[in-house]
């Protein structure tokens, strides 16, 4: 719907600029905006982080609860992801039950983390079939200048690595999957779109990549389409950029003094 309220003239100008090979903030098409990550910002959470991509800001917090495992995986912990597009973040975001954009955000963030199998969920089970720890990931988009998907993915994985569970120790987590979002404008492909670029995007593609350069999640969105070659080109670039972003996550965790040591074998025993 947001498309409707952007003056046609502004959109034409953005398209023309991109066609001429430029972006309004001077970046190259394959370049991200400045990534800023802070760690441990929300102290009531078991783990937390904030990620800014340019002016886009997402706060992520991890809460640990206790619940019942799923019947079909009785000795595995439960991971639950939620996201909200907070009205504060954008005049287009309305209060009320989550719209499809927020649902998609939560599910794409979740998929990148879940499918990379980075959390050792089996270690979180307390009594098989009866009681397990629950890991809740809440991603809150507080300020939206485009590409909240990657910002949320980065905030969430950082928050997970920052998580310490009472009476247990650090959350047993091994990898850092990173989402990378591309848009297509005409025949051009841009990484990490800002909002005005999103308004003129024909299609979107998010690719999550883990340490071993495996793709662990993808999501195409938007009204346009992609060719196979475009997808493969995006995958290549995603692998490169994910490694760079992962380094920034690690630096932020180290700066916080909490790039946690691998979970001790004994920790899982309690």
């Amino acid at each position: 719907m947001s498309v409707q309220i952007i003056p046609t003239l502004a959109k034409k100008a953005t398209r023309a600029l991109i066609k001429s090979g430029k972006r309004s903030d001077g970046r190259a098409f394959d370049q991200m905006r400045p990534v800023k990550i802070t760690v441990g910002d929300y102290k009531r959470a078991e783990g937390s982080a904030t990620c800014w991509l340019g002016k886009t800001m997402v706060a992520a917090g991890i809460k640990i609860g206790v619940g019942t495992p799923y019947p079909d995986s009785p000795n595995v912990g439960v991971l639950s992801s939620n996201a909200e597009l907070v009205p504060a973040a954008d005049p287009q975001f309305q209060a009320g039950p989550p719209k499809e954009e927020a649902i998609e955000l939560a599910r794409v963030v979740d998929r990148g983390i879940r499918e990379s199998k980075c959390i050792e969920l089996e270690k979180l089970c307390i009594t098989p079939g009866e009681e397990t720890r629950m890991v809740y990931i809440d991603s809150y988009v507080m300020d939206n200048d485009g590409n909240y998907m990657d910002a949320a993915s980065i905030a969430a994985i950082t928050a997970l690595h920052n998580t310490v569970i009472e009476d247990f120790g650090p959350l047993p987590i091994t990898k850092k999957p990173i989402a990378n979002t591309f848009i297509k404008v005409g025949s051009d492909i841009l990484l990490d779109p800002c909002l005005e670029e999103e308004y003129v995007a024909d299609a979107r593609l998010t690719i999550s990549v883990e340490e071993n350069n495996n793709v662990c999640a993808m999501q195409k969105a938007g009204s346009g389409s992609w060719t196979k070659d475009e997808v493969l080109k995006c995958v290549d670039l995603a692998i490169t950029r994910a490694a760079e972003t992962r380094k920034k996550v690690e630096d932020a965790l180290a700066a916080f003094g909490k790039e946690p040591a691998p979970a001790q074998p004994s920790a899982g025993k309690m």
Partner: protein, 238 residues
Amino acid sequence: MGGTETDIPLLVDGKRNDGRTIDQMRPVKIEAGVLERADGSAYVELGETHAIAAVYGPKEMHPRHALIPNKGVLKVRYSMLPFSVGDRKRPGPDRRSREIAKVTREAFESVVLLDKYPRSAIEIDINIMQADAGTRVVGLTAASVALADAGIAMTDLISSCASGKIEDTVVLDLNGLEDNCGQADVPIAMTGKGEQIALMQMDGLMTKEELNQAMEYAVTGCKELHKAQVDALRRRYQ
């Protein structure tokens, strides 16, 4: 991916548990015009996954404040019937249904000539009657036929199938067991010529090379589906 462990070997001597080769799709059956009331409709079977899709429109857009003056609006509902799955699904949309409805709608926005339908709505209703993996791609394939059956102007039909990965091997069109025990699932929707990817999701772990293979299998699968879609529409109008 479910990642559930299993003792059933998924792949033996290049044959899958249901006897298919790695690049073979399950049997396809498509019928157009299966419902009386809908402006267009279709029934699609892909193995044991069955869907009915219906299309209404172009019709007046509601609510009025959401209409777009110079083009039509696509609405998609995706629903798994409570008895279409092992454990009864509670009626009503869940988060998965709403995500699938969104990506399905966006896939069709790439082919439906919405400029021809100003101020109007085109409603697509996808019902999964029986589920054995691949429900979104079967639903999408059915909806594409239903749109054509309703006479909605499109640049092309969309065909959709999934590739996946089991026992470190890329295969075409996962069945339910493979989906539960496999390593990756890549639902893809393509235009009839297999050149444009209108829907793509992925979960699991795949290298770039495997992803390339997955897309190539999907091209083959979608071409087979496209043929079956065209045949069904032809039968309908003979």
